[in-house]
Amino acid sequence: MTGYYRWRKIKNGIMFSLCLLSVLAALVPLFIILFYTISQGISSINWDFFTKMPKPAGEAGGGMANALVGSAILLGLGSVVGLPVGILSGIYLSENKKSLFAGSVRFLAEVLNGIPSIVVGVFAYIVIVIPMHRFSALAGGFALGILMMPVVTRTTEEMMNLVPNSYREAALGLGISRWKTTLFIILPTALKGIITGVLLSIARAAGETAPLLFTALGNRFWSTQLDQPIASLTVFIYDYSKSPFDDWIRQAWAAALVLILIILFINVTFRLVTRKR
């Protein structure tokens, strides 16, 4: 009997170690990726990198100013497309929790979240690039906007649900109408969470490459025109990573480092803000 008991204890220990090992197996890649991105990228990061234009192929130096500005423009366009739909439908879902329509919209937002970004890119190509007969920042921004929608919808709904029901009851008890309660009591209370949710969706869109390849296309030159191809950080990394020049590959790592820092910063902030409640 004691032998069997010991075996059960040993089995318990083995399983504990296996679970611990799987945690390590997930954390090791995370730290290796962060380590490589920092060690490979840090040497190319300097003032020029943020302020200069790319140099012609083969010449050392140069920067990615156009890609930074391009990414900012694309994300701005994406926000214009994605945020109104995301926030308002999030409000709808939190105000009408039980209705069948709300249930199916919630479900659909999840489905939309799972649609590969490259497919969204193809959709943007069909709807905008084909009628316009050229690649453009607009098409890229549209694709990013669609990708932002489900994230914003979900976080808006979650954040509005976190507001204690007593707020709503107090407002309604004072005779304030329902829509004013939602708009002027619940929404401002949840605003901090919603804003971080919006930032989270921007972080997701900032890391997207696939939907931009054949919508915004990329551009070696300075361009801020919305109906022209435009550069972006991620396509910059992709193009440079395929190049035969060591200096360009170093710059690709540097751009990856910049991107990863922005995205991780937003993600960690989001978690800290949402955990407090």
Binding site: A26, V85, S89, E110, V119, T153, A210
Partner: protein
């Protein structure tokens, strides 16, 4: 009118339960309800837009792929040729590459994810659980292109010089590990995908395990079970939820583009060996879309996108339904 008030409150319409005696307020009450009506319908309209978008996506891609559908029909998905010069297009190598790389990734990722989820919910003290799960979820925040960069310049050389020769020498008799070590290939793609789908399977499995009531654990301990024996019971209860998480992970892996494109070797062939390069549906769209010169070529690529769209929608819907049906059982009022 106490009766009317009661029945109104039962319906939860606090707003409407204003006493009917306040006839003076009647006018402003209509005004308020108009506001509610307008506000509710505006938000409903935007929610409806999400609906329209998904339907439109499917329809537009279907319309653009009509030339390819008419030319090749069902043969499109069993034809193994991909020849832009002769305009003979078949998607089988890409479908194979997509499914093969995703399944291999899933086989590696599933036990790891469940292990992590169990560790986080059952073994870890509360103060450590938050930071640990945040670290695991940060893996999901790293952009695909950075995974690709890492896979191309760090992992592929390591596979070529260290892992694949060792596997080939010792396990070369298994069909999985035959052929010359390229580095870039199916194995690299599967490993990168493994890391990328770990966080989603983990976080959903964790939610599922957490939704199982503590009374089950307490009952098990009371019978003298060890921690692991208790966990086995908990896992039994969360089985179908973990299945849902797996399906979601599969959907993610199937749609993954950039990282896979950069490490899979991009060669439309069907080979069981993990060392050989392959090609996936998402990669072929990413690589060849801007090069598609003819109408039929473009149309075939869009048909691949349509197939990908349908595949991920089916997988995601299934997954959500499964996860929902599990959490519904334990969490009161869990929504879809």
């Amino acid at each position: 009118m106490p009766n009317e008030q009661n029945s109104n409150q039962q319906q939860g319409n606090i707003d409407d339960s204003v006493s009917a005696a306040d006839t003076v307020l009647l006018k402003s009450k209509i005004g308020r309800n108009l506001g509610d009506f307008v506000f509710n319908n505006i938000t409903r309209l935007f929610a409806f837009l999400l609906f329209v978008l998904v339907v439109l996506m499917g329809y537009m891609m279907y319309r653009q792929s009509i030339p390819a559908i008419e030319k090749f029909g069902w043969k499109f998905i069993i034809n193994t040729d991909w020849d832009p010069v002769l305009e003979n297009f078949g998607a089988l190598p890409f479908i194979f590459g997509t499914i093969y790389s995703s399944i291999i990734a899933l086989i590696i990722a599933l036990p790891l994810s469940v292990g992590i989820a169990v560790f986080l919910t059952e073994f870890t003290p509360k103060w450590l659980e938050g930071p640990l799960s945040m670290l695991v979820e940060l893996l999901a925040a790293i952009p695909s292109i950075v995974y690709g960069l890492f896979g191309m310049f760090v992992m592929a050389p390591w596979l070529r010089q260290v892992v694949e020769p060792v596997l080939g020498d010792h396990l070369g008799f298994i069909f999985l590990f035959q052929g010359p070590p390229y580095g870039l290939g199916m194995l690299a793609a599967a490993l990168i995908l493994t890391v990328m789908i770990l966080p989603i399977i983990t976080s959903i499995s964790r939610d599922v395990l957490k939704s199982i009531p503590n009374s089950q654990r307490e009952a098990s301990y009371a019978l003298g079970a060890t921690k692991w024996e208790t966990i086995k019971i908990i896992l039994e209860g969360g089985k179908s939820g973990i299945l849902g998480a797996t399906l979601l992970g599969l959907g993610r892996a199937i749609g993954e583009t950039m990282a896979v494109t950069m490490v899979i070797g991009n060669n439309p062939q069907i080979s069981a060996s993990l060392f050989e390069p392959g090609y996936t549906m998402a990669s072929v769209i990413a690589n060849e879309f801007t090069e598609a010169t003819s109408n039929l070529y473009l149309s075939s690529l869009i048909e691949i996108a349509l197939l990908l769209f349908i595949l991920t929608i089916v997988l995601n819907s299934l997954a959500r339904l499964v996860v929902w049906s599990v959490t519904k059982k334990y969490v009161k009022g869990a929504t879809l």
